[in-house]
Amino acid sequence: MIRQCFIIFACLAVGELIVWLTGITIPSSIIGMLLLTILLQVKAIKLEWVKGMSDFLISNMGFFFVPPGVALMLYFDLIKAELLPIVVATVVSTVLVLVVTGWTHQRLKMKNEE
């Protein structure tokens, strides 16, 4: 357990360090995630060294964002004022993402297999 926590938090800490050193706008957690993938790939760490902790964190990911979601109560006025742009942009864009991603993948996959 301690080793699992150490690996995950060490990746996160290195991510923070990189953000602090370079000032880039990429979240430190994304850097940490890519770092973890690389460490697993080059066999610097074994899968079973992180598996338990990572399964726990991923399966409960939804729960972790309940508190920040509650902060929504502070922005009711903003949402009310801009409800239409928010709803239209979100719905149209979601349909576009579904269709563009699916269509591109289906097309390229067929070509790949020919």
């Binding site: 995950i8 957690s29 995630m33 309940v66 929504l72």
Partner: protein, 230 residues
């Protein structure tokens, strides 16, 4: 009512409501009753009725929110497990992800801007397709309102989970791999859990879409916004 403001009481309440909401969704089988959304709604009603300030709740909530970042790092494990698959089909997967990511960010930003949304709102909308922890981090890094992003992201997830497969059918996208991938790309974890119900292949590709679009959006969104001039 001072006891209600106690951190541990508020934490217990949060766990309890979420557990109840999850059981309720299992019992009814309704995807729309997403436990995350229900818990947020119930807590907001509770805080409003008791007059507890958000700042008070946030002190307790911080202990839960803290685990968001480690959870994103943990996504490196399934990403590693999918690497072989990604490498074998690199071009179709990578190009469709890239297209989905760019279309997702550009379309939501341009439409919101045309309809007169404020900069804060536009930035909060930009990462709407990706999983909440990543979306909130992207939003924060760009100067948006993370909790607004959180609410929109859950709604997008529900939209994809409920209507996603129907939209794909209408557009003749029938390949299970393509369907799974686009559900995960457009509607992250909520869509992915719906895809899991449909089958293992759908689920695996949906989680691939969820992770890859998360990474791509985190990497590209800042540049896309800069190019559009937000």
């Amino acid at each position: 009512m001072e006891i209600l403001q106690n951190n541990l009481v508020l934490l217990a309440l949060t766990f309890g409501i979420f557990y109840g909401a999850r059981q309720f969704q299992k019992w009814t089988g309704w995807i729309v009753l997403n436990p995350i959304l229900v818990t947020i709604a119930v807590l907001i009603v509770f805080l409003t009725l008791t007059g507890i300030r958000y700042e008070t709740y946030a002190q307790a909530g911080g202990f839960i929110e803290f685990w968001l970042k480690p959870a994103i790092v943990a996504l490196g494990v399934p990403l590693y497990q999918h690497l072989g698959q990604i490498r074998r089909q690199f071009l179709p997967i990578f190009l469709s992800q890239l297209a989905g990511c760019i279309v997702g960010v550009v379309s939501v930003v341009v439409i919101a801007q045309m309809m007169g949304a404020s900069r804060e709102t536009i930035v909060s909308l930009a990462p709407k397709s990706v999983t909440t922890p990543i979306a909130m981090e992207v939003c924060q890094a760009l100067g948006g309102i993370p909790s607004l992003t959180a609410a929109i992201v859950v709604s997008v997830g529900l939209l994809g989970a409920v209507f996603g497969f129907k939209v794909l059918e209408v557009w003749h996208i029938k390949n299970p791999y393509s369907q799974g991938l686009s559900i995960g790309t457009a509607s992250h974890a909520v869509g992915t859990s719906r895809a899991m119900e449909k089958g293992e292949t759908y689920g695996a590709y949906a989680s691939l879409g969820l992770i890859l679009n998360g990474v791509l959006t985190a990497l590209l969104a800042p540049f896309i916004l800069k190019i559009i001039g937000i």
